[in-house]
Each structure stands twice: as C-alpha cells, then as structure tokens.
C-alpha cells in the first residue's frame, strides 16, 4: 500500500479523542529539552506520555530571554536596529525592514524608489535561504542525516556571500535605515544576484527530486500534526503554517507594503494542514520568490537610497504610535512603537511570528507519537532568538 493517504482518508480525518488516563494508569512525564538536539536552541517541552502517545504537552520558553524590548526603550531608535538582527538570526534583513517600516510610519519618512527595490530583493533572498534551511532542518529531524540540509546550506552560502558583499556581514546585516538603506550597492552586485537567482530553480528542482516523492518523508509527514484552518485563524497563526492550513492570507498581498503591488506572484495554499503541506508550501514559496526576484532585478532604478529628511544623530519622531508589519519568512513580524517625542521609544513591542506559531504546538501534538513531536515542532520553523527575545 502506498503511504500516501487518500483524499477520502483526509476528509474523514478527525482529531484523535484523548481519553483521560484511568485511575491507576501511570503517565510518563518527560522533559524534552532544554538541551535536546531537535529543539533548535534552548526550549523545553514537558510531555506526558501514555506509552508512545502524547497526552499533554507544555511548552516552556524563556531560556534565551535577552530583554530586547526593555533595552530598546532605554536606547535610541537607531541603536535598536542591530538588536533586531538578533531576533530571528536567519532573516536579519526582514527584521530590519519591519522595524524600519514601523519607525517610518511613526516619523512620516518616505522611502526612495531605489531603496524599495533593494529591500524587496534582499527580503526575497532572505526568504529563499530561510525556507531552504527550514526544509533542511525538518528533513534532518526525520533522519535524512544531513544531505538535504547540506544541499540547502550550499545554496544559502551563495546568498550569504551576497549579503556580506552588500552589508558587510553574513547574518547580522544591520542594513536598513529609517527612510532607506545604509550603503549603496557595490559595483556589479545586481549581476551577481542575477547569476545566483538563475541557479536557484535548479536547486529547488534538485530538492524536490530528492524529497517530494520520497516515501519515507510522506509516511512520516502526511496526516501528522494537522492544524485545522479555524484553529489556525483563532490562534493568530501566520505565515507558511497558516497557508498550509488553507487560509489565503499573505501580508504582501493584504497590506501592500513596500512595492509588492508591482510584482506578479501567487500565494501557494495547502489543503490538509499537515507537515507535508508545510514542507510543500515552503518549496512553492521559494519558487514564487524566485519569480519576484526575476521581475525586480532588471527594474532597479537609479537615484538616492535615503530619504533626505532622515537623520542619523538626534533622531526624534513626533509624539504618536505606529505598527509596522511585514510578511517575514516565518509569518507576520510586527513592531509596535509609541513615541513620546524623545530620542528613545516610550514603548517598543515585537510581535514575533515564531512565538505565536508555537502556541498551537500542543493542539497539533495531542494523540501523536512522541517521535512525531520532534517533526511537528520542526515544521513550525521557529528560531528561539525570536521566541524569547
């Protein structure tokens, strides 16, 4: 029998009913983490097991808490920018963009055309390398000991080299500024981006040939960790997790931030909301990102990259509040700022997609085998730096 679950089986799928442990039954309580190879950092899951089945799961975060929000309230607006790199350290450029967007709304700054294009290009490159490594980590947790991950990292390396050439750093880019970008593109950078982008479809095809039809991956991931669309919406899940559950919601389409209106791209949607769908959504999103890049790279106009009204020292936005959000690779990343007219924000709040996507972990894991918990957790695609802040 093929391990692929039929559509009829999916339609008749009901979440397993968890009967309470009987009197005298002994539950095994296991603390998975904080030092567990599958937790992507320091994160603990207190799991109660009945045999192999998960009866209860309590996520415990906070091991990596760094007081990001309070530090930001005590330092200038600019000084928080390098700290945003360290939230989700896989996608520092999208973090920069979300924070810059919030401050631009607060201070009423206009981003020049050229800077908008640069932002889209860097953000889409970030999305591709994030999804590539997320798939790599997920398959590694299924036992594909490193091969897909290494292929993903080979491609990611090319993108990180481009980031280093542009921003000076591979991961902690600290590139965007309020009203534009920090430095002008180096000579020939766009040509090198085109060369890397031209090679990406081949890499995605390779990943798909390696994984998509693989029976082990299908057996481990199809029908496992199902997230229903109504629960996903109620819990505020965003990003590939939400779209894998079949809800059509992409902030690039909804909010029209930046210049995403100008590009033609599709929003891939899942049907079943299981781990396999989350994998598939990420593959398809990489393809759509390649399409956006192909449209954006030839169109980059000449001109300034900074709003002339923006200033580096003595930046004091007027009194008010603003919420800037973007579609980060992991979901909706938002920054909420209140200004009291001084040089540092009165309130600084991050809406991290990783943390909020983790809140449904227990609902997805109940009744599953303990070995699948690792996969479900991996398919959420989190970075603990962002969960704990």
């Amino acid at each position: 029998m093929s391990p692929v679950m039929s559509d009829a089986a999916f339609k008749s799928y009901r979440p397993p009913v968890i009967e309470p442990a009987e009197e005298g039954d002994e539950l095994l309580e296991v603390a998975m983490g904080p030092h567990h190879p599958s937790t992507h950092g320091v994160f603990r899951m207190d799991v109660a097991l009945d045999g192999e089945r998960v009866i209860r799961l309590k996520p415990v975060f906070g091991y990596l808490h760094r007081n990001h929000e309070k530090i930001a309230e005590k330092s200038s607006y600019l000084a928080s920018m390098p700290y945003t790199d360290r939230l989700d350290y896989f996608c520092s450029l999208t973090n920069n963009w979300a924070y810059a967007l919030a401050v631009e709304k607060l201070a009423g700054l206009e981003v020049p055309e050229r800077a908008q294009y640069i932002r889209v290009i860097t953000a889409e490159l970030t999305r591709i390398q994030n999804h590539a490594s997320a798939i790599g980590f997920l398959t590694q947790e299924m036992g594909a000991s490193g091969t897909p991950l290494m292929y993903a990292f080979r491609e990611r390396e090319k993108i990180l080299d481009l980031f280093e050439e542009l921003t000076g750093s591979r991961m902690m880019c600290n590139y965007m500024r309020f009203g534009g970008c920090r430095v002008e593109l180096p000579k020939g950078w766009l040509e090198r981006v085109s060369a890397v982008v031209a090679g990406l479809p081949q890499f995605i095809d390779e990943t798909e040939a390696l994984l998509t039809g693989n029976e082990i991956l299908m057996a481990r991931s199809q029908g496992v960790g199902i997230l229903k669309p109504d629960l996903a919406v109620n819990a505020g899940i965003t990003g590939p997790m939400l779209r894998a559950a079949g809800v059509n919601y992409d902030i690039r389409k909804v909010d029209h931030y930046g210049i995403y209106d100008r590009f033609k791209f599709r929003v891939p949607l899942g049907d079943h909301g299981d781990i396999y769908d989350r994998y598939m959504i990420r593959v398809l999103e990489m393809r759509e990102s390649v399409e956006i890049l192909k449209q954006a790279i030839p169109d980059v106009p000449a001109g300034p990259i900074m709003d002339p009204k923006s200033k580096i020292r003595g930046f004091r936005p007027k009194v008010g509040e603003a919420y800037g959000r973007i579609e980060a690779p992991k979901g909706e990343l938002g920054f909420y700022l209140i200004s009291d007219g001084t040089g540092n924000p009165y309130r600084y709040r991050v809406r991290p997609p990783s943390l909020i996507n983790l809140t449904v972990l227990e609902d997805m894991c109940l009744g599953q085998n303990v070995a699948d918990v690792v996969l479900i957790f991996g398919s959420v695609d989190i970075v603990l730096g962002e969960v704990d802040r």
Binding site: L78, D161, E164, G168, M172, P186, L210, G213, E215, G314
Partner: protein
C-alpha cells in the same frame, strides 16, 4: 512502485557525489586555514581608529567627542577626554582621547559607531583571527592597539577609503577657503576702521555639524 521516490532521490545524491570530483560547482568546501576564500571588501568585524601620516598619536582623527560612546548599542567603548588640545586635519585645535578602549568581547560589530562619527575617525577592521587565552585583558583593545594608519584602511576597504579621503579633502578645501575669505574680510575691515577693536580670529566650522 513503492521506493521509486527514494531511488530518484538516491540518483540525485549520486549525481552530486560524482559531480563533486569534476565540478567546482558541487564541491564548495575550503580547507581552512591552509586554503582561504577571497576576502570580501565590505566585510566588517571590529572597530579601528584611523590616523593620518606616520605618528599614531599626532595624526589621530578622533577628537574624543564621545558620540560613539553614547550611541554604542552594547556600550563597549570607553573614552577619556584630554585636557590639552592638538590641531586636527584642518588645523583647528581639538581634544584627543587619552584613553580609548573597546571591549571586543562585548562589541557586536554593528558599525553604529562608524555611522555616527562626524570626523571619519572610527572604521571597521576585517581582521577576524583574534582568539586569545586572556579573556579579560586580551579582549580589551586600547588606543595603541586600535590605531591604524590611513594606508591600512586603504588596503582593506579601498572604495570606501577613497570616498572618505575625497570627502575630507573637500571639507578641508572648504574650510581653508572660508578661513581665507574671513581673513580677507577682517583685513579689509581693519583697513577701513583702524580704530576698531582687534578682529577676533576667524571662526572655523567643525568638520560636520553634529546632528546634520
């Protein structure tokens, strides 16, 4: 057929394995430290202080204004201002740092200090092999250790250094022209009204208005 997908995947890995012997595209690892990848020009890691000319103290561009100390996000810069003054590159007397320490175990290489510096005095180095057995003193870099010549800066970031030099030369020329004009005006004024009190020395602008 069950297993078809797995065979297809194995064919892909076999292609990559065989390809790694012939194609550079599939073999991307480098045997550090014997082999090294080409350095990237914009790379940054820790700050350095730039000086002009030969003498690290006399040519130091830093005027100990302490803006970087205040703006540094992790607060890893420690500056003590001098009591006496020395002339800077346009000839104006300026303070200089008697102590300029950077704790690179705290520094996060964000280059905010470079951006806020109005005097082009602090720049980023590319030296990354900095491991030491002394984790306190060995990671606190003092002024002598941080001072690097402008030639060194040109060697590591040629494009950026050329831009900075052009900007500084322009400012110097502007300052000189302004000083000359002011001197001429003062002379003319003195000639017109000999009884007037002695003209004050022309006031020179700072390199850049703070807050500009």
């Amino acid at each position: 057929m069950l297993g078809e997908g797995m065979l297809k995947g194995l064919a892909e890995t076999a292609k990559n394995f065989a390809g790694s012997f012939v194609s550079k595209e599939r073999l991307t690892t480098v045997q550090y430290p014997e082999e090294r990848v080409a350095p990237i020009e914009n790379t940054r890691d820790f700050p350095i202080l730039i000086y002009d000319g030969k003498d690290p103290l006399a040519g130091l561009r830093c005027v100990a204004c302490q803006i970087c100390e205040k703006e540094c996000p992790p607060k890893c810069i420690y500056i003590t201002k001098s009591h006496d003054k020395k002339p800077d590159y346009v000839g104006k007397p300026q303070n200089y740092p008697t102590r300029f320490d950077i704790d690179i175990s705290v520094c996060m290489s964000c280059q905010i200090c470079v951006e806020v510096c109005p005097f082009e005095a602090i720049k980023m180095d590319t030296e990354f092999e900095l491991s030491t057995t002394d984790r306190f003193g060995g990671l606190l870099f003092d002024r002598e250790h941080l001072s690097k010549s402008n030639d060194y800066y040109h060697a590591i970031h040629p494009t950026e250094a050329a831009e900075v030099d052009a900007r500084l030369a322009e400012e110097k020329a502007k300052a000189e022209a302004k000083a000359k004009a002011a001197a001429l005006a003062a002379a003319a004024k003195a000639a017109a009204a000999p009884a007037a009190p002695p003209a004050t020395p022309p006031k020179e602008p700072t390199a850049k208005e703070p807050g500009a």
